[in-house]
């Protein structure tokens, strides 16, 4: 087990020093596609936080109590992706029945999440890094929060840029990449805090 880093340290690292989006490029597709408006970005962000935290917990349990004892860890990828897909489907169904408002707020984003690389990424990283259960959950939560901060800030910037004259060829994805680059640079200011790289 990895006792080197505390639960809070992992959370902090996942949000700031090693933001899953700005330093590992995970979740770029939805990041570029759904960052035009702050409101939608916020909705997707909260959905990601929820799913990421929950699936990292479930996947940790599945891995340590089902796959490992039976020596099946080579099937990890398949199992994880199915867990994520199934979880998203179930949540979608529950939300649909329980609350109309929540469904309109979150429901539309849920199908997008299955293909968000960041979700699977979190599950894979936590296994490879040998995190304990509580470490995994805080890693999932932190990565989700970090992702949301990045996408909401990006949406804010893009809303302001709505009428700006962006050079041809940079419109859309290009300019977002440049903004993400500068954001990633600004986040380097957090490097080394709490003794984390």
């Amino acid at each position: 087990m990895n006792e080197g880093i505390g639960v809070f340290g992992i959370f902090f690292a996942a949000v700031f020093t090693s933001n899953i989006l700005l330093t590992m490029y995970l979740g770029m597709c939805s990041f570029l596609a759904v960052s035009r408006h702050v409101k939608t970005a916020f909705g997707l962000g909260s959905a990601v936080i929820f799913v990421m935290t929950a699936t990292s917990a479930i996947n940790w349990l599945v891995y340590n109590y089902l796959l490992k004892p039976f020596d099946l860890d080579y099937l990890m990828y398949i199992v994880f992706i199915i867990v994520i897909a199934a979880f998203v489907q179930i949540v979608e169904m529950i939300i649909e029945r329980v609350s109309e408002t929540l469904y309109t707020a979150l429901g539309i984003f849920l199908p997008l999440i299955t293909v968000n690389c960041a979700i699977l990424g979190v599950s894979l990283f936590m296994i490879i890094r040998n995190y304990t259960f509580s470490q995994s959950v805080s890693f999932g939560l932190g990565s989700g929060v970090g992702w949301m901060i990045a996408i909401v800030a990006m949406a804010g910037i893009r809303e302001r840029l709505a009428n700006a004259r962006i050079p041809k060829g940079l419109e859309g994805a290009g300019i977002s990449l440049i903004i993400a680059g500068i954001m990633s640079m600004a986040f380097m200011g957090f490097t080394g805090m709490l003794g984390l790289g």
Partner: protein
């Protein structure tokens, strides 16, 4: 796009506030020539040429004038790089600053991040050892740098990175500018005068200055009195590390700062709080630069939040009435 406008307009569009910023910066810049030698002046010319060219190419493409804001960027950029930086690195920095910090966002008035700081952050991360490891000691003697091309003594550390030798002598040197550091961030008193002039002229936002200062003093105070910040006391932290320059000339940049007054409070506080935190805990103790860039990043959100807040208050008042 075509006919009327194109032909007979002057190349550069001068804006009054921009001129004022340049006036306010000039004394400190002159002082750094005195402290660091004539190389600073050459650096200034080089940076201005390349900064201007970068903007000119874009402006030409769109058939527009070059806005005088590019010179403000050039001024600021020269002041926040070490006086001994190789010329070509400065060129990389200023081109990045103008192109990726400003022009790709649609030019003057549209940039999200402060261009000079964007350029500086880029070369700071790229050429870390040149930007952090080779500070020049100011040239000593009555004529100072006026008889020198470049300073002789190089030191690997500024006060910001070591936190040693802080005392009255240091305060006085920092106030006059007789300390190693970036070209223009050394002379605190001249920056202060320039800054106050800008605030009086209403070019720089008073709200941002006040709240940044408040946030900074409170946070630094907390860190200092709990012993976390070493022997870096309040006076030292205000006088050094480009805080003055950032406070008056970059945090208040009217384009990249929020427009709403309430949002400006949050913006100022954010910078004020983040600066000492990054200075104390990060391995890149460049507090002011990273704090302002981060604040720029969340600036649009702050504006939106403030608007939302006002809307809610209004609707509440409506209901009450």
């Amino acid at each position: 796009m075509n006919d009327k406008k194109t032909t007979k307009q002057p190349l550069i569009r001068w804006l009054a506030p921009m001129k004022k910023v340049m006036w306010a910066l000039s004394p400190a810049l002159a002082a750094s020539v005195y402290f660091f030698g004539w190389r600073v002046l050459i650096m200034f010319v080089v940076v201005n040429i390349f900064g201007f060219l970068s903007e000119y190419l874009f402006a030409k493409h769109y058939n527009e004038q070059v806005s005088s804001s590019v010179f403000v960027t050039n001024f600021l950029f020269v002041m926040i790089i070490p006086p001994t930086l190789p010329y070509w690195m400065a060129v990389v920095g200023i081109v990045f600053a103008v192109v990726f910090g400003k022009m790709v966002f649609g030019g003057f008035g549209k940039n999200i991040f402060n261009p000079a700081l964007t350029g500086r952050a880029f070369i700071y991360v790229t050429f870390a050892s040149y930007m952090t490891g080779r500070w020049a000691e100011p040239v000593q003697g009555f004529f100072g740098g006026l008889v020198k091309y470049t300073p002789d003594a190089i030191t690997s550390a500024t006060v910001l990175s070591t936190g040693e030798n802080i005392g009255t002598t240091f305060y006085i040197s920092a106030l006059t500018g007789n300390i190693p550091g970036s070209t223009g961030e050394t002379s605190a008193i001249l920056l202060l005068i320039g800054g106050i002039y800008l605030v009086m002229q209403k070019v720089a936002s008073r709200t941002i200055v006040i709240w940044t200062l408040t946030g900074m003093l409170v946070t630094q105070g907390l860190l200092f009195y709990t012993g976390t910040a070493g022997n870096f006391d309040l006076i030292a932290s205000v006088l050094s590390g480009g805080f003055m320059l950032g406070l008056f000339f970059m945090a208040t940049d009217p384009v990249s700062a929020p427009k709403d007054e309430t949002a400006k409070i949050f913006y100022g506080l954010f910078i004020g709080v983040m600066t000492p935190v990054i200075r104390t805990f990060s391995v890149w103790p460049e507090g002011m630069m990273f704090a302002i860039l981060l604040a720029n990043m969340f600036g649009p959100l702050m504006d939106m939040g403030a608007k939302e807040l006002k809307k809610r208050q209004k609707s509440k008042q409506m209901k009450a009435a």
